[in-house]
Amino acid sequence: MENIFVIDPARCIGCQACVQACGECGTHRGTSMIHLEYIDRDVSVQTTPQICMHCENPTCAQVCPADAIKQNPDGVVQTALKPRCIGCSNCVLACPFGVPKYIAQADQMMKCDMCYDRTSVGKRPMCATVCPSEALFFGPAEVWERRRRGRLVNTWKFGRQTVKTGVYMVMPGNSALPESTVQMDVRLGAIGVVQRQEAKR
């Protein structure tokens, strides 16, 4: 059975369990790679976890001047190779999902590598292991289909750029629908953001 990785931000309860667990992953001990964001802290408690989406053609690797970001044959985009990474932060700025982190102390980029020490031997990544609400799900596609609703989407449009990812997000609709695309709309205000910006102007 093939395992799939699914994120469902709407189910995130902001418990931070993923943040703590991520820091215990063997490949980046002590440094948590997952992001947990409040979408608009002033008016909502809604949070969202962000892991690496493991793009098929990773923008981060394309813009890396040092060839430091490699993709495994199974599609997992690895964190920067330490001997090569020159700490330029190109990947940090270019990633359409805002995933890579620049770690100033090491002068290196680090990012989620889907707990490769675990997933490469069939175990679940740390974040999905501890997530109590299945905002982060890692397991067989059949299990997800059996107990969850919605459709899985892994094709995104950022302006004119299409990005296909190894990780899925849940969107409303029938899971049996043919593959569809999420058109990312950056003008959307997260419940009040736009209004506040307009008030500032």
Partner: protein, 334 residues
């Protein structure tokens, strides 16, 4: 090709028109010429990559700014000591890792500094004309002082390669230990990129030390055979140099260019996020990145002319949830 021609010319003239070139070492020289070609060729290919080309150009532009050149040279010297000589940035990851890298890198550099000039005939030792027990090092045909052959200086000079071999072996043991027990290393390491270079360095070092053991303690027993396998291990290492992990020796100094790029960006115009207004990078970096993306054939522009690069990484993460909630029709889950 220019680099290869320059190397061959420097060998020809540096060895006093081949007078001090040892023909027995021709195979080492050939491998070095090939490695030089490979390294320069790969470096040239690497520089053609759009992001590399842009940052290479921009890094030099910023470094050579007329008003700040002296300040930049001083800063470059500081970075050279900190990052290249002392390698402090590795010590921040772990002390043992730093020790391993320090011993391996300086062992290799010392060995290269001793071996290449001797192989190319740039350096040779002559007995002093009036006192044969004194040795005169001759560098590019110019005598450089003298020292007694049987003295601490003489002993140290003639055993520099042994010291570097011991350093490399200690560093290799520390690195091997990390690769055997560290889960981080285990998950990502590969034979050709991580183990092969250590095995090659071990082979070069141990066979080199065995040459000393043979000549010092065994009356030269098996010296010819040992010299052959030592030569073989060195040549394989030289041939591996442009293609494998060792290429980072030439690639990694680009980090110093990035330092100047970041320093210039910190005091120049700042990019403010089109969504939240936060300062998230230098305008120079964002605009350069847009150019790189266009050269790579990636189009993150929207129909209204705005660019996705104008949104900060934090807002990009939030947009995932915001777009999903918009599709669901408000808070709540499916």
């Amino acid at each position: 090709m220019i680099a290869v021609v320059l190397l061959v010319l420097s060998i020809y003239f540096g060895s006093d028109r081949m007078k001090y070139f040892d023909p027995a070492l021709i195979i080492y020289t050939s491998a070095t010429v090939f490695a030089t070609f490979g390294v320069v060729y790969r470096y040239a290919v690497w520089l053609q990559k759009p992001p590399t080309a842009l940052y290479w150009r921009r890094g030099w532009q910023l470094f050579l700014q007329p008003g700040s050149l002296l300040k930049h040279i001083a800063e470059l010297c500081r970075l050279f000591v900190q990052n290249f000589i002392l390698q402090i940035f590795i010590e921040r990851r772990s002390y043992l890792r730093w020790a391993a890298h320090f011993l391996l890198s300086w062992g290799c550099l010392l060995a290269a500094a001793v071996t290449f000039p001797l192989v190319f005939g740039w350096v040779h030792f002559d007995p002093a004309p009036n006192n044969p027990s004194m040795y005169v090092p001759v560098v590019m045909g110019i005598p450089m002082g003298r020292f007694p052959a049987y003295s601490l200086i003489g002993w140290t000079t003639f055993h520099l390669l042994d010291f570097s071999a011991i350093g490399i072996i200690i560093g290799m043991v520390l690195s091997f230990r990390r690769r055997m027990y560290d889960t981080d290393a285990q998950a990502l390491q590969s034979f050709t990129m991580d183990f092969l270079p250590l095995i090659l360095l071990f082979a070069v070092s141990i066979t080199g030390l065995m040459l000393t053991v043979s000549s010092t303690f065994m009356h030269g027993d098996s010296y010819g055979f040992l010299a052959l396998i030592h030569a073989f291990s060195v040549i394989v290492t030289l041939l591996y140099l442009p293609f494998g992990k060792f290429f980072h020796i030439f690639q990694r100094p680009a980090n110093m260019g990035v330092h100047f790029y970041k320093a210039a960006g910190a005091v120049s115009d700042r990019a403010l996020c089109a969504r939240c207004g936060a300062d998230y990078a230098s305008s120079m970096h964002v605009e350069d990145l847009k150019q790189v993306l266009a050269e790579l054939g990636m189009d993150y522009t929207f129909d209204d002319g705005t660019h996705y690069q104008d949104v900060c990484p934090t807002c990009r993460r939030k947009m995932m949830a915001v777009n999903q909630l918009q599709a669901i029709g408000g808070p709540g889950f499916l």
